[in-house]
Assembly symmetry: C2
Homo-oligomer: 347 residues x 2
């Protein structure tokens, strides 16, 4: 009850921030990527971290108890760790209850709903705090209307899942603001929503409302305002292409950036599905996207060169840039290449 009644909080309204980041008892940095991503991309909304005894992982933030964090201004504790099944570990419950009792709301991006756990539901009721599941889409999403909205939009699309669409969108939004452009990051997945403090988890929306949800995500804005929309999936993905198309149609992007990881040969987890070329992604995105924005065009390529040497990364960017005639950069190596990509966006 608590979980669903508060689900709409994260629609376009903001999540309660700043956060205390909870690391649980995780021993692997990989499982703490939500907390680490929050600290990397939204340090201004992170007050401190807290973990259970024996947890060796740290984001680098100071450690505070819920009471200390509340006194320091925190409004919510975010579950910043994941595990295999996306479930809330029983060993975390005393800490989660303590946070509620000390006046913090609880925010989770996991599959399991906070309100489905009786101890948490009872503690939230007792303390008058909110249990917020950011993976639950808001209620009342309308069917898409296809009406052209004001303002400018850039969408990150990909040759596959999990290769940098969120990081690219975050870097573009930060970069645009850095050169004086009024820009907002629009989150379409749970980690992005935690970072931005609002957004819509596109993958959890009922299919009939996909485009409608995307329309809500980037509402009418001033003509010189840019929404930088986090992409999802890929139009070539055998399972998730429908989500990608609903997001593309509803976003009505003026421009898009293709995200790719050099060397990836197949769709992640689908060895029978070869990765599409960047050219194929550009062509299909233009063809489908022009249904709701006839002026759509590709302005550049974002490469995920993680693990490559600086020299190899530069060579990969140079090769693709020459081949396509488009600025190509790794946004994690914010260099001259990235600046050219930014400039192409708003040109």
């Amino acid at each position: 009850m608590t979980s669903t009644s508060t689900a709409a909080v994260h629609a376009l309204a903001a999540l309660p921030q700043p956060y205390l980041l909870f690391l649980g008892d995780t021993t692997e940095a990989g499982f703490a990527k939500t907390a680490i991503g929050l600290h990397d991309w939204a340090p201004e909304v992170c007050v401190a971290e807290w973990s259970l005894p024996g947890c060796p992982i740290s984001t680098g933030l100071p450690t505070m108890t819920p009471a200390q964090a509340r006194a320091a201004g925190a409004r919510a504790m975010v579950i910043g760790v994941a595990n295999g099944g996306g479930v809330i570990s029983a060993t975390w419950l005393p800490a989660l209850v303590e946070a509620l009792e000390q006046g913090l709301d609880l925010v989770s991006g996991m599959h399991q709903q906070l309100g489905d756990i009786p101890e948490l539901a009872a503690a939230a009721e007792r303390s008058g705090r909110q249990l917020i599941n950011v993976r639950v889409p808001p209620r009342g999403i309308p069917v898409g209307n296809g009406r052209k909205r004001s303002g400018k939009r850039v969408l990150t699309v990909g040759t596959d899942c999990a290769l940098g669409k969120k990081y690219t969108a975050l870097a573009l939004a930060r970069g645009l603001r850095g050169i004086g452009v009024d820009a907002d990051f629009r989150a379409s997945g749970q980690t992005g929503i935690l970072i931005a403090g609002s957004g819509i988890p596109m993958d959890a929306v009922v299919a009939d409302f996909s485009a409608g949800a995307a329309e809500l995500l980037s509402p009418d804005a001033a003509e010189d305002h840019w929404d930088v929309i986090e992409g999802q999936g890929s139009l070539f993905h055998p399972a998730y292409a429908g989500v990608s198309l609903g997001l593309l149609h509803g976003s009505q992007p003026d421009v898009f950036v293709v995200c790719h990881q050099p060397g990836r040969q197949h769709v992640l987890g689908y060895p029978d599905y070869p990765l599409p070329s960047i050219e194929d992604v550009i062509d299909l995105t233009v063809r489908l996207g022009r249904r709701t924005n006839p002026a759509i065009r590709c302005v550049g390529v974002s490469l995920n060169t993680h693990g490559m040497t600086e020299q190899d990364a530069q060579a990969a960017c140079a090769e693709i840039s020459a081949r396509l005639g488009l600025p190509t950069a790794d946004p994690m190596r914010q260099d001259g290449r990235f600046n050219r990509l930014l400039e192409a966006c708003i040109a």
Copy 2:
């Protein structure tokens, strides 16, 4: 509780049939289209009809009370009428409770959930009957896996919504069986599910699972078996294209038939969106569909010539057939043209 716990019944298992068709107090045949469609397409599962006093509409079936229908073999009463908001009218409740008490399950394709109405939940509990909402997708739908399945598949696609994809699929399935082909109609919307007795309401599936739901809908089959899959929406629809793409990818159709209504200029309800040409639909369906079935091809066009004279209908079919070099027929005028479309399907 009752509604969700029985939701999985209509997945691949069959609905309780045959039916008593409930017409309520409707005074417009248009609102009784579920009952009329059931009688047209699945007369073998319709025992009788029942309505409230003053209802002038009839499907042509005999009238029976729930007790009489139960004695005549009916296993469920279907709400065969719709109204504006897709809600259960309070004036129907005594009749719905009577059906449960007389030993019939209740089946509904409306938006409102039967189990959310306290009187119905209590009556179902008391009588041990099921409340079945066919618009609720089954639980546990997996993410699509993209694996090629055995058997043959034909999908109906469209230039728009609401122009004959369901009727075309029903006619193809019946026609194929008529020429000795082992064929099943696979329902992807609530009315189709009521007719077929099973299926998945694609528009109600969470977007991440669209392709997975479509994979479930037409499972592995004998190599000479045909699944005739009811299409949804249109790849050119500004709100529903994501559903159409998930269904296309997950269905892996070998062949498809494009459904169109001559004279329709704009997407229904979207005056700013011109209807795509049949050629555009063929081209885009092939381009997107070949991702999961490289051999996909268009075998013909189904025209909805409702309201046209026989001469105009024939002329429209002849013109499109000559232009595209494909069999073109109105399946509601089952003539030589339709037979050629059937033969092209399995050629």
